[in-house]
Amino acid sequence: MLEVASIKRGIVLDHISSGNGLKIFNKLMLDQVDFPVVLLMNVSSKDMKRKDIIKIENSIDIDLDFLGLIDQNITVNVIENNKIISKKKVSLPKKIKGLFSCHNPRCITNSDDYVKPTFHLVSETSMEYKCSYCEEITKYKL
């Protein structure tokens, strides 16, 4: 198996569904940072057939809400001094501000620059979010 040196300090996003790694990499704009980043794709896994992994060397703020929207299988490992100090599963955020736009073309959030689209979760299974302004439902898709 392909080996990549483990990191001393930083974040490892593990158990990313195969194929989502690159999307997350792009969404987090990791191609524009100046610290070491590794994207592993199609790694064999015990509990998943294949998975993607992203390793980020350096402690950066990762938007966990955002990861939850993309892939709820992800585990976020925070590493300090070669040790995993926290291991978190991501979940769908209950409230979202500004991460995506309201699908209703008549919604004020699509025409007034001042306001950030704000939603709350109404259905976990279908990832449906209700807009706080126009009350229309937006289904999140990556």
């Binding site: 004020i108 306001v115 009350e135």
Partner: protein
């Protein structure tokens, strides 16, 4: 400025049922003895911020404020005012908060009055936002039902026409569900049925029965309150569909002959051709009275939001 916490009316849910009842009761008192309230809002200014023209709603608000002894400022069309130059709602409303004591906003974009309320230091009233909500029409409707049916609860209410984009319908149906109305009849063409999200929340939150019908004649004998709405030509893809459907949703004397003797016919106005002129002389047609009552519902609302003492 007063010490009372600023209240807004953006959607009917901003008021509890007790508060809605309070506004309806006060509206009724104002209708019965308007002279007693002619100085209630002396020295207060209402700003009418109409980002799209709506003569009827604006006149209703302006009349309400003038009858309370207050004054008005505002614009009736965003194209003729500075707001067309792309000023954000947040900026407009922060300035307006310094000029006026209370404001009503009409806006083509859904959620605009809610956005305004986040930046206002005066009460904001939603005067209609896109196809979303029109809560002062709801107050008007509640007052009308109270006047003609004595109670707001316990009637079989039917909505007819454009239920998809009809914001007056959306606001009223949610509110009547809160008043424990258990059954609604929805009469509309397939293209203009009530939005699924609203149907879902009505069923989930209030366990109401929604009976859908395609023709008025099929259900008219069961109805206590028939709420008619306008079907706009622009909602249809082609002229032929519109022509075919518009007569199905027209109420006339011959259809009305099968209705209960004490049924009432309501309409937010303006009507185009969904109620035939021959219905106007029927005592069941209360839509012009409804428009008149709208002024008193708005008077009651303005005094409530301004926190002025109206116990006379």
């Amino acid at each position: 400025m007063n010490n009372h916490k600023i209240r807004h009316l953006i959607e009917p849910e901003d008021f509890t049922l007790e508060e809605l009842n309070e506004v309806v009761a006060l509206g009724k008192k104002m209708y019965e003895a308007p002279a007693e309230y002619k100085r209630a809002c002396e020295g207060k200014i209402l700003a009418t911020l109409f980002y799209e023209p709506s003569t009827r709603t604006r006149f209703s608000f302006e009349t309400a404020m003038l009858r309370l002894g207050g004054s008005i400022i505002g614009f009736s069309d965003a194209n003729t005012s500075s707001v067309s130059k792309g000023e954000s709602i947040a900026d407009t409303i922060r300035c307006m908060s310094a000029y006026a004591d209370i404001a009503v906003m009409r806006h083509p974009k859904e959620g605009a009055p809610k956005l305004a309320s986040h930046y206002a230091s005066i009460p904001i009233i939603n005067g209609g936002d896109g196809g979303h909500q029109h809560p002062t029409q709801t107050l008007t409707d509640l007052l009308t039902i109270k006047m003609y049916k004595e109670t707001i609860e316990g009637h079989t209410v039917a909505f007819c026409g454009d239920l998809k984009f009809g914001r007056t319908v959306h606001s009223l149906i949610r509110t009547l569900a809160r008043y424990n109305t258990k059954k609604f009849i929805l009469i509309s063409p397939e293209e203009l049925t009530l939005p699924d999200t609203l149907k879902r929340s009505l069923k989930q939150d209030f366990d109401v029965e929604l009976q859908e019908a395609r023709y008025i004649e099929d259900v008219i004998s069961e109805i206590d309150i028939l709420y008619m709405t306008r079907i706009q030509k622009e909602r249809f893809f082609n002229e032929a569909d519109y022509a075919r459907l518009k007569d199905s949703y027209l109420l006339n004397q011959s259809k009305l002959s099968h209705a209960k003797k004490d049924m009432i016919v309501m309409h937010p106005l303006p009507r185009v051709n969904e109620i035939a002129y021959d219905v106007d002389d029927d005592p069941r047609g209360v839509y012009f009275k409804q428009a008149e009552l709208g002024v008193y519902a708005r008077m009651a609302l303005i005094t409530k939001l301004l926190g002025v003492d109206v116990s006379c």
